[in-house]
C-alpha cells in the first residue's frame, strides 16, 4: 500500500552548523535512514567565521522536507535549518569540461561557444583545453551536449550552492543563539507564524 508521492519537487535545504568532525555523517544518515537520495551536497564557510553552511538538494514533498529539516535542526551542533523551493533561492552550479585542443580549435566555433554558454577557458594547452561554466543544471548540461561530439575527455559538475532570496543572513540570529536566555527571535517557530517555508527554533 505504498502511496504515490505527490508534489515532489526540488528543495534547497540550508543548514547553519558548527564546524565539527562527524556532523556530516550525522546529517547524511537522516536522509539515508529514510531512503532519500541526496541530489547535491555542499559544505562551505558561511557569512560568519566559524559557522559552516550546508546546501543540500533533494527531490521530495514539502511534508517530508519539513520533517527532515526538523530532524537536522535537532542535532546538537546544528544552529538553524531553512528549506526552500527553487523559486526562493538564487542558485548556481559550476562545471568543468576537458576537450582535446586540436579538435576543438579545428572544428568548433570556440568563440561562439564561449559567448553563448557564458563559458570561459580556464586552461589552454597544446593537448587539451578546459572550459568552465556556471549556471543552472540545464545550462551546464547544454554545453555538455554541445561538447560531446568534440571528443570530451572529462566532465565534472560541482554541488549546488544557493542563497536564500528572503534571508537577512545569520549575524543577528547568532547573537541570539549566544545568549544564555533565548529571545523570541530564536524561539519563533513555524507552528505559529507561517506553518511553511522556514523552520526555526
Amino acid at each position: 500500500m505504498t502511496q504515490q508521492p505527490i508534489d515532489r519537487q526540488e528543495y534547497n535545504i540550508t543548514a547553519y552548523t558548527e564546524n565539527q568532525v562527524g556532523l556530516l555523517n550525522r546529517i547524511a544518515i537522516i536522509f539515508s535512514r529514510r531512503k532519500i537520495n541526496i541530489e547535491s551536497l555542499n559544505t562551505s564557510p558561511s557569512e560568519i567565521e566559524g559557522i559552516h553552511r550546508f546546501n543540500i538538494v533533494v527531490v521530495e514533498t514539502e511534508e517530508v522536507v519539513r520533517k527532515i529539516a526538523r530532524q537536522i535542526e535537532k542535532q546538537v551542533e546544528v544552529l538553524k535549518v531553512y528549506f526552500n523551493p527553487n523559486e526562493d533561492v538564487i542558485w548556481q552550479e559550476m562545471a568543468l569540461y576537458k576537450v582535446p585542443t586540436d579538435i576543438i580549435a579545428e572544428r568548433a566555433l570556440v568563440e561562439r561557444l564561449l559567448r553563448e554558454h557564458g563559458a570561459r577557458a580556464v586552461v589552454i594547452r597544446k593537448d587539451y583545453t578546459v572550459f568552465e561554466t556556471t549556471g543552472h543544471r540545464e545550462e551546464t548540461d547544454k554545453l555538455l551536449t554541445v561538447l560531446q561530439p568534440y571528443g570530451l575527455i572529462e566532465f565534472v559538475r560541482s554541488a549546488r550552492i544557493a542563497i536564500i532570496k528572503g534571508s537577512e543572513g545569520f549575524h543577528h540570529k547568532l547573537r541570539e543563539f549566544e545568549r544564555i536566555e533565548p529571545g523570541q527571535e530564536v524561539s519563533e517557530n513555524d507552528y505559529l507564524n507561517s506553518r511553511d517555508k522556514v523552520f526555526t527554533m
Binding site: N25, R26, I29, K67, L79, P182, S187
Partner: protein, 587 residues
Amino acid sequence: MYTNQQPQPVPTSPEIAVAATESATRTLSGAEATLLALLAEGVDTVFGYPGGAIIPIYDALYDFKEQLNHVLVRHEQGGIHAAQGYARSSGKVGVVFATSGPGATNLVTGLADAQIDSTPLVCITGQVFAHLLGTDAFQETDILNITTPVTKWNHQVTDASEIPAALAKAFYIARSGRPGPVLIDITKNAQIQKADFEPYQPCNHIRSYRPQPLVRPEYIAQAAELINKAKRPLVLWGQGVLLGKAEQEFAQFIEKSGIPAAWTILGAGALPTGHPLNVGMLGMHGNYGPNVLTNECDVLIAIGMRFDDRVTGRLDKYAKQAQIIHLDIDPTEIDKNVKATVPVWGDCMETLPLLTQLVEARTYPEWRQRFLDHDAEEIAAVIQEELFPTSDELTMGEVIQHLNELTQGNAIIVTDVGQHQMVACRYAKLNHTRSNITSGGLGTMGFALPAAIGAKYGRPDRTVVAVIGDGGIQMTIQELGTIMQTGVNVKILLLNNQFLGMVRQWQEMFHDRRYSFVDIASPDYVTVAKGYSIAGRRVDTRAELHAALQQMLEHPGSFLLEVMVTRENNIFPMVPQGCGVGEIRLK
C-alpha cells in the same frame, strides 16, 4: 597533543583527587580528570567492564573506590541496561564504562534502546591510542560512526585537556531537553596523558543547542479554549511527564480539568493506577475504553508522548474526528505522525501549570461513564478470567494480581519484552511514579534482569521486581553473576510459558498456528540461580503461588521465583497490526 610513548603506570593518589576539587589548577592524568568530572556531576554509581583500552581509567578508579561505586557487570549490554534502569528509577544520568572494540559495540543495543526511550546516559568508552586510529589496531572499532544513529550526541577525545569540557557537555546534553544517550570515546593516550586542569566547569549553554523552548502563551490560550469548549476530551500521557518531573503539575491539570486520562506504557505510574481519572493503558494491548474512545473524543490532549505506531494503530483511522493538542518538548515529534491542531511546544513542567490556570474546573460524568461501561465489557470478556481464572493452569495475570496484593503497588516493576510485559503493564498496580521500567520503543528482550539491577542501585530504598519471560531471561542470564557478586537485592519473577509467547500468539492468530521456532527449551532456573548463590523456587500450582510470592518478597536478598503458567494464553484486547484503534478485539 598526544604522545606516542608506551603506556606508563599512572601514579594516582586520593590527595590529588581531593585537591582538584578545590580552586587551584592541578596536574592530573586524563583518567583522573574523567573520574573527577563524574564526581563533580554528582555521579555515585558506574556500571562497567574493563578492557585494554580503558585500563588507565580503571587504574585511576582503584583510588576512587570510596567515592564511586563501580558495578562490575558480566557483559557490556548488561552494563548499559543496568545504567538505563538506574536512570529510569532515579531520574539521574546513568553512567557506563566499556573498553574499545567489542566492549563498545556491545553497548549498541542499549544505546538504541535509550535513544528511542529518551533515557539519559553517558557512556565512556576506551579507544586505541590516537596514533593508531584507522590502522585496524587490536580492538579498534569506529564506535563514533557505529553509534551516531543511536546517540543524541557522541564525541571522541584524543587529548587529555579536552576531557572535562567534553564530559560537561555530555552530561548537559544527556539530561537536558528531551534526554538521551551520549557516548564519549577517549583514546588511551588521552587517559594516560598528564595535563594541567582548571577546576571543573559544568556546562549550561551550547549555542547550537536549544533544549528548553520558550513557551508561547498564544498556544496555551488556544489549547485552553479548545479544552473549555470540549464535550468529550481525552488526555493521553507519555513518559514526557516523568522526564519533565511534572507528575504533580500533571495531576493538578487532570484534577482541575476533570478530563479522563490514558497512558502509554512508558508513562505508566505518573498518575497512580487507582486514580479515578486514570482510565488505563493505550495501544495494541491496552485497555478497551481508551482505545475505542480515542475515536470518539472531540479533543485529544497528548502530553509528552509521540504517537508510536503501537499506540495509534492505523494512522488514517486514528482520532480523525478530534482536534488534537500536542504538548511536547521535542519539536520533531509535533506533526510527525499525527497532525496537531494546537502544538504546545515546551517543557510540560512549564506548560502544564499555565494550561491548568486557564482551563475551567469541570467534570464529565457521562463521558467518564462511557469508560466505565467499556471497562465492564473488558472485565467480563478478558480481565476476570485472566486475574481470577477458573481453569487449573496459572495465568500471568493472576501472578501479577497476587503481587499487587503483596506489594500494595509500592514496588518498582521492571519488565522484559513480550506477553509477560503486556500483562505486567496492564495489571500492575502502581502508586508511585518511576515504578514501571520497561523497554518500550525498542522492545529489547534481555532488558529486564540488568535493568532491575540498575533500578535497585538507583532506588535502594524500594523493592524492585523484575518480571521476565523464559525467552528474555536467557538473553542476559549472565547478569545473575552481577547479582551474586554485588549482593544487590533484586526479586526475579520468571513467568515461564515454555514458549516465545508473543511471537507464538501472532503465529496462532495470523499465521495458521504454524509455530515456527517459538518452542524454546529452558534450563532448570532454580538450579542455575543456586549456582550463582541466589535463592530460588519453582511453583506450578495456585495453592503455592501466594506464599511463594510472599517468600520471594520477604527473602533478605535476591530471589528467583519461577512460575509455570499456561502455555498458550493470548494477550487481549488486541489492536491487530494494520487496524485502527476502534477495531480493537476482545478475543
